[in-house]
Subunit: 229 residues, 2 copies
DNA sequence: CCAAAAGTGTTAAAACTACACCCATGA
DNA sequence: TCATGGGTGTAGTTTTAACACTTTTGG
């Protein structure tokens, strides 16, 4: 044991709640544990923080190692420090949440040794440790954030019809929105650009595609504008 | 060195940004460091997390040891994990912020060995480590929280005139509010109770005192009500 | 009687909500 | 030609913002 300290230290880990949106549901990526404790149970991707990396670096590294995801939206959520949250020893975990769009990223459905899979948040299996609590906190945070920051676009492909954007809000906020009011609101904020492009391969009238204009959003924000749905 | 681990571990600390309100300003409690690094500089109260206590317990313990404050509003803020934030070794800190009212609590202006004092947030001295960044984050969080959660009352005595409540909002949000609109809004939320009591020892017409009715707030909240200023 | 803050209503503008039909497209 | 979702406007209501004077009290 080469590393010795005068006082006992908790172990420090990161865990990441990765959200994605499929046709119907908001989903979370889970990894099947192969080791005790909780062997065979599903858990959040994550792992130990190394002394030479920041917390966010640790989160991104683990994400890459365990799910293949790189370069995605990532934000610190909360730090969980209950004494008995890991039955082996004291482990404090800094939880992050991430948003990805399924189209744009090549998510390894299954990785190295471990088994990774998406689960609908409304139908999660029993999770290891306090990971259910972490997912709950992430979901609550996402719901709050979605309403006053333009983070929802991270869950969509770069080009999307308004319908899909509304669907996102309905799924995450878990309530129906009025189509006309939603469009009016979104378009009036003037942070979307209408593309000269329409949906393809749909069995009905194809919708116009839009793109979130981050530069414009940033400009408007500096001018005192506040995103709100 | 009795505690050995297979891999190097960051040290884990808590730091607390304690806010209070005096007549004019929002203030933060700082402690003068007597040890290197940053000896003589002002810093946030805080210290190492013990393996047998939760993060919040650690924060409350340090707060009591260093400032004498007990039983106050405390909420986790963010975890700071830059690699070089402490020049000695890797230290990750879980930051909390606290709200106190100066009347209700007996704050040791000066403690044991260390020197503790209040500073206006608008006029802080140079701080040790990345503590300025932590204060900034706490202030931003407080500003956000104040608008949609009734946390402001934690900074006031139990009985207060509406004027004082408005003043609090003006100081923290750093902008003037219209007196009539503010009163209308606050009273219309129906979470304050008017007491049969008025201010004493003021050199002008004495204002009615109010008290925040938490029970009523909780009831209203369950009914779908949302606090917002 | 003066200074200081308490207390109080109205109006115009803006934002929000509810609501229904025709259109374009591919099957 | 039918099923599916795309796209659009209005009216009533609520919320917000702006604004000034009279009252009470102690000094």
């Amino acid at each position: 044991m080469p590393f010795s300290y005068e006082f006992a230290r908790p172990a420090l880990t990161v865990d990441i709640v990765v959200f994605a949106l499929d046709e119907a549901d908001l989903q979370v990526m889970l990894i099947e544990r192969d080791l005790e404790p909780f062997a065979g149970r599903w858990a959040l991707p994550g792992g130990f923080v190394r002394v030479e990396e920041t917390l966010e670096e640790a989160a991104r590294r683990e994400l890459q190692e365990e799910t293949g995801l790189v370069n995605i939206y990532l934000e610190q959520l909360y730090t969980f420090g209950e004494v008995e949250r890991d039955p082996r020893e004291r482990v404090v975990t800094v939880a992050y949440y991430a948003l990805v769009n399924l189209q744009g990223h090549n998510v390894r459905a299954s990785t190295d040794a471990r088994n990774a899979a998406w689960f609908a948040v409304s139908d999660l299996p029993d999770l290891a440790f306090d990971h259910e609590q972490i997912v709950d906190a992430a979901l609550e945070r996402l719901r709050g954030k979605l309403r006053y920051q333009p983070v929802g676009f991270e869950l969509l492909p770069r080009k999307f019809p308004l319908r899909q954007l509304q669907h996102l809000y309905e799924v995450v906020l878990d309530r129906e929105l009025d189509k006309r009011n939603f469009r009016k609101k979104m378009l009036s904020m003037d942070i979307l650009v209408e593309l000269n492009e329409i949906e393809k391969d749909v069995a009905h009238r194809a919708a116009k595609l839009y793109r979130f204009d981050k530069a414009k959003y940033d400009r408007r924000t500096r001018g005192g504008f506040n995103f709100e749905v």
